[in-house]
Every structure is written in C-alpha cells, then in structure tokens.
C-alpha cells in the first residue's frame, strides 16, 4: 500500500513538471501557432496519463488547458479569452485533454492487469511444475515455502498443516516469518481467508489450503503483492500437491506391503514344502519297509507317530500362515451343503468308527465364504467330534438357517465341554485336563475360529440336549 501511494504522489508533481516543461519549450519556438501548441500539449497530457495514470492524467489535462489559455490564446498571460471562437477552442482542448488522458490511463491499467495475469499464470505454472517434481512430503514442503514466496511476490510465507484434528503446526516457512496464530486457527476452523494491510507493504493473507471438501491446513503470505485470487490459486495448488503426495505415499506403502506379503507367502510355501517332504518321505519309507519285511510293532508305532507329527506340522503351518496374514479369504458364493460334503469327503475318514448322520435341507443355503477355509474349519469340528466322543456313538452334522444367518453344526455324544471352558478351548495349545490322554495339538479350534471369523462368521462351542458338545459355525446368509 505504502509503495503504491508513493508512486501516485510522484505522478502529480511529475505531470505538472512535464506540462510546464512542454509549455516552456513551446514558448522558445518562435512563430508557433496556437493549434500546434495545442497538439504538443495534448501529447504531453497523453504521456502523463500513460506514465502515471488517471489522477496525474486529469491534473495534466487541466493544467495544460489552463496553460494553453494563459500562454497561447490571446490576450497572452491572462486567463481572459477575447475571441469567442477561442473560447470554443479552449473547451475543445480541455475535453480532448481529459478524454485522451482518461483513455491513455485506462489502456495502461488494462495492460498492467494483463501483464499481471500473465505473470501470475507463469508463476502458477512454475509452481505446479515444481510441485509435480517432488515425490515426497519432505522435498515438497522443503521447497514449497520459498516457491510460494516467489510466486506470490510476498515477503514471507508460512505453511501450517493439520497433524491431527485441530492440531496445526508450522511445517515450512521462509526465514524470520512471524504469524498470528489466532488467525491461522481461525482460517483453518472457518475455512475462510483473512486479509489485511501489512506493515511489510502489500497484504497479509491467511488462506485455508483446500483438500476436496476439507482443509489440509493454512497458507500464510505476508507482504503479498499478488492478488488474493492468485494467493487462492496457490493454496489450491498446494492442496493438490499435498494430496498427490499422500496418494503417492499410499501407493508406495501398498506396493511395499504387497511385496512383503508375496515374500512371506513364498517363504511359507517353501517352509511348508521343507517340513512336509521329510515327513512324507519317512512315512512312505516306513510303509515300503513294512511291505518288504512285514509290519512289526515298531514300524506300526513309527507310522502312527509320523502321522501325528504330520498333523502337528500342518496345524503349526496353518497357525503361522494365519498369523502372517497371507491367508486372505477368497470368497465366493457356495452352499452350506457343499461345505459339509467337502468337509466330510476330506475329514470324514476320522469318523469311520462313528454313526454319521447328515441333516442338510434340500434347499441350498448360500453363504459368501472361502470354501477351502470353511471346509478346513468344519473339518476340525468333525475331527474333534470323532476324537472326543466314544466309538460307535452318533455324530450329527446339520445345516439350518434363520432370517439372516446360516448355521453349520456338529453334534457329538461325548462328555461335552464345561461352560467355564468354552472360551478357553479356543486359545492356542489349550487342552482340557480330562482329554490329556487323547492325541491332539490344541490348535484345531483356534485355527477354526480364525478361519471362520476371517470369513465374517462366528464359531461357538455349546452343549447339545443329550449333553454332548455342539460345534457351531454361524455365517451371514448370502441373499
């Protein structure tokens, strides 16, 4: 503001000086006609208006008019006009002077505006190119303050960003910047900009940095010479740059996670292979041995133990896989009946000494799950039923539904699980003292529960009317 005033004040004496100098020079030329003098004076008015714009332009027009009358219209050196025709000349001159001054000043202002807009546009282009070149938040913010200071033609710039809800901190600034914290908070909270004349000259402006419909923070520019519109443009650009940087960050993270999950998955597959192969080899070797020299107690024991070892290995591998997060469910629409059929096909051998009843309604109850994972979860339930209920007793598998849920249950006729232990049995390696004699890893139920929950379901243990255990999978029904 101060600078602008200075410039304008200089314009008035300068305009006067130019007009007087023109008159002086014209007086030195002998035999000059009044019309020639008028043209030169109009030229002077034009220059004044061009150089110092409308105020000094008007002043120049009036002074030139008066000077024209005083020096060049007879009688000379008075403001009196004798010839009535010269009165017309004087007024025409005055009007011409004012009009030319006005036109010239307007043209000049327009030109300056266009110039300023072109400069703003170039500055915004530079700024956006600069922002696009930065791919990390650090490099973006590191240079942002200085880039913005140049683009906005301001003295100081400070960038405040929200770290949490309402928690703003200054993340980048040009050296020595002093801002009013309350205005920063206000601009952030209300989402409106605040501008007022600056003691540094120009304007101090506090602008919210928009990101979509919300705000990322506040941009402060002190001693701003650019327009507010330009400042808003810069704030939008900064918001876009921050948003882009955030998305880049997310993309990088996702890529990293993906790579690390692929690595984990590959490692686990290799581990499973390395652990399973020796067990499988040993088991086949024992069987070969039995065929060659006949079965003995030792070879039978070795075979049983190897089978149990193989069970432990696969349970442990499953736990590791679940923990590592590589076992993502691949959900599809399947019928509960199909899950039961698959589980019985794979794990049904365990029930060879039990009376098996399958109660699946003919109308299919569809669920959206990973079929393999649910088969395995149910398989553990079938194995548990076989293991913890006496040979020859009934095991019943049923499928049913209510309004929005599907139920897959396995009922056995064992001793059941006391109510106090019904949650504890889902913990890893937990085996109830009463079942210590029965081989098991203490992992099956924990694996089952993880698998069921991963698929949006629930796994519960209850007691049947006959007192045996009920293994119950509850799944959201698929429409």
């Amino acid at each position: 503001m101060k600078r602008l005033l200075t410039a304008r004040w200089i314009g008035y004496p300068a305009a006067l000086l130019l007009v007087f100098a023109t008159i002086g020079l014209l007086k030195l030329v002998p035999g000059l006609t009044d019309s020639s003098a008028a043209l030169f004076l109009i030229l002077a008015v034009f220059f004044c208006a061009w150089a110092w714009e409308s105020g000094p332009g008007v002043l120049a027009a009036i002074v030139a008019g008066l000077g024209f009358n005083y020096f060049f219209l007879p009688p000379f050196y008075t403001f009196v006009i004798e010839d009535p025709r010269n009165v017309v000349t004087f007024f025409v001159f005055l009007v011409c002077g004012l009009l030319i001054g006005r036109l010239s000043a307007t043209a000049r202002v327009r030109l300056r505006q266009v110039e300023a807009e072109r400069r703003d546009l170039a500055a915004l282009t530079d700024l956006s190119q600069g922002f696009l070149a930065d791919t990390s938040r650090e490099s973006l913010l590191g240079l942002a303050a200085d880039r913005l200071r140049r683009a906005l033609q301001s003295e100081q710039v400070s960038i405040w960003l929200a770290q949490g809800p309402g928690d703003l901190s200054e993340l980048a600034a040009t050296p020595g910047v002093v801002v009013q914290r309350n205005l920063v908070d206000l601009a952030y909270r209300q989402g409106n900009s605040a501008a007022y004349p600056s003691e540094l000259g120009g304007t101090d402006i506090y602008l919210p940095i928009p990101i979509g419909v919300t705000r990322a923070g506040v941009l402060v520019a002190r001693g701003l010479q650019s327009t507010e519109r330009m400042a808003e443009g810069c704030a939008v650009l900064l918001g876009l740059a921050l948003e882009r940087e955030r998305f880049l960050q997310i993309a990088r993270e996702a890529e990293k996670t993906k790579t690390s999950e692929q690595m984990k998955s590959t490692l686990l597959a290799a581990l499973a292979h390395d652990l399973t192969t020796p067990v499988a080899t040993a088991r086949a070797a024992v069987e070969n041995l039995q065929t060659r020299i006949g079965a003995s107690d030792e070879s039978r024991l070795a075979r049983t133990e190897l089978e149990s070892l193989s069970r432990h290995v696969s349970d442990l591998m499953e736990v590791v896989r679940l923990d590592s997060g590589v076992t993502r469910p691949r959900r599809e629409r399947v019928g509960c009946g199909q899950i039961v059929e698959a589980a019985l096909a794979r794990f049904g051998d365990a029930l060879s000494k039990h009376a098996l009843f399958v109660d699946v309604p003919s109308e299919e109850i569809a669920v959206e799950v990973d079929p393999s994972q649910l088969t395995e979860a149910l398989g553990h339930g079938l194995e548990n039923a076989a293991r913890y209920s006496p040979d020859g007793s009934e095991v019943r598998v049923s499928v049913s539904k209510d309004d929005d849920k599907a139920f897959i249950r396995v009922f056995d006729q064992g001793d059941g699980i006391p109510a106090s232990d019904r949650e504890r049995v889902f913990e890893r390696f937990v085996r109830l003292p009463s079942t210590a004699a029965i081989p098991g890893t203490g992992l099956g139920l924990s694996i089952s529960r993880s698998l069921v929950e991963m698929n949006g379901g629930e796994l519960r243990i209850g007691t049947s009317e006959q007192g045996g255990a009920v293994f119950e999978i509850v799944l959201p029904k698929s429409p």
């Binding site: 597959a269 292979h273 192969t277 080899t281 070797a285 069987e287 059929e341």
Partner: protein, 227 residues
C-alpha cells in the same frame, strides 16, 4: 511291465516313491526336475509320468503344460497343500490325477494303477461293468443294486456312463458338466451336486459316506469302483 518316469527333486522322496513303484512291478526312470524330465520324454516313451509340483528349474505345472503339447501320457502329480485352485488348474492344464503329500504308498499305487489301466483299456467303455453289489449293462441300460433293478433318470445314467469311462479318475466340475450336459452354460455345480446326490442314494450303501462316487473337495468327483 509299465515304464514310469518319476520326476522329483528331493532325493529321499525320489527313492521311496521309486522303491514303491518298482515293488509294484513297474520299471522306473527318474528325473530331478521338469527340464530333465522333458529330455527323458524326448528320448523314449513312458506309460505314466509321476511328478512333484515344487521343483527348481521347471516346476510340475509347467511340465504338465509342456508335455501336453506333444503327448497324451497319463500324468500323476504329487502336491503338498490342499489348494483346490491349484488342483483344478493342474487338471485343466492336462494332469490326470494328483496325490496330496503326505500320502500313503497304497494310495499312490492305486492312483498309478488306475491311470495305467486306462491306457491299457484304450478309450472304450466296456458294455458291462460290475463292482460291489452293483452291475451296469450300458447297452440295455439296466442297473442292478443288490440284485434289484434300480431306475436311473437319463441324466443320472449319463453321469454313470461318464464315470465308467475313466474309472479311478478325478473329474472336475466343469469336465463333468461338459461331458454330461455338453455345455456349462445354464448348468451350475449345484445342479450337478443334486444329480450326483441322487445317483449316490440309488447306488451307495451310505450316501453320507460314499465309497464309489466320492467328492474331491472343491475340485469335483472321483469314481472308484474297485475300492
């Protein structure tokens, strides 16, 4: 005597499988990976290929794809995990059957036997079959269970006929749909399941524990009349 090519990178596993197959009276050549196997297959012909899935160089699945470009030799794959998608992919790539590690030697031999028998028998379906207490006469379309005539619907009969064409083999859902309905459009696995279920109720002693028409979880079905 059948010639079998065994492809396995683990020396221990290679030895036990080889011993088991030789004990069953087969002549066994071995290869340590898929590339090695392809060379052997180029030099001489085999009646059966038994291959591991995870191998350095060329893996089992790639080997199946390569072999199928030029040969119809039966392929039995040894897999590690119960990954049904991998199994279906293997079968669709042209493998004939799989055994999941750790497997029983008897199971492995039974699968190998079934595949070898199929090559012996050629492509034809015998007009008369008998297993357990079931007998089937394809020409007169008569099916007897425990000496009593069983009535099968046309689709059930077509299913049974398809199963009889490859005894012991595993059929993926889509293979069965294509064989019985001729198309997979408009027919779902559920439809297939219903018909297999009713066929089981008519032929099996305990449909909950089928002995002959077995479910291969999430892969398809296997017809095992000899067991």
């Amino acid at each position: 005597m059948s010639r079998i090519l065994l492809v396995e990178d683990e020396p221990g596993m290679r030895k036990v499988v080889r011993d088991a197959l030789e004990r069953a009276g087969h002549r066994v050549d071995t290869a340590v990976d898929g590339r090695d196997a392809l060379e052997r297959l180029g030099e001489q012909s085999f009646d059966l290929v038994v291959t591991d899935l995870n191998m350095p160089e060329l893996g089992g699945r790639e080997l199946v794809q390569e072999v199928r470009k030029s040969s119809r030799v039966p392929i039995l794959v040894l897999t590690v995990r119960h990954d049904e998608r991998e199994k279906v992919a293997l079968l669709d790539a042209g493998a004939d059957d799989y055994v999941t590690k750790p497997f029983g030697v008897d199971e492995l031999l039974a699968r190998a036997r079934a595949l070898l028998r199929r090559t012996d028998a050629g492509r034809g379906v015998p007009p008369f079959s008998r297993w357990g207490d079931v007998s089937v006469d394809l020409e007169s379309r008569r099916v007897l269970k425990a000496d009593r005539e069983v009535h099968l619907t046309p689709i059930e009969f077509a299913l049974l006929k398809t199963f009889l064409g490859k005894p012991g083999a595993v059929w993926t859902h889509s293979q069965l749909l294509a064989a019985v309905w001729g198309t997979t459009a408009g027919v779902t696995n559920d439809t297939l399941r219903v018909h297999v279920g009713s066929l089981r109720r008519k032929l099996e002693d305990d449909p909950n524990r089928p002995r002959w028409i077995r479910t291969e979880p999430w892969v398809g079905y296997r017809f095992t009349p000899e067991q």
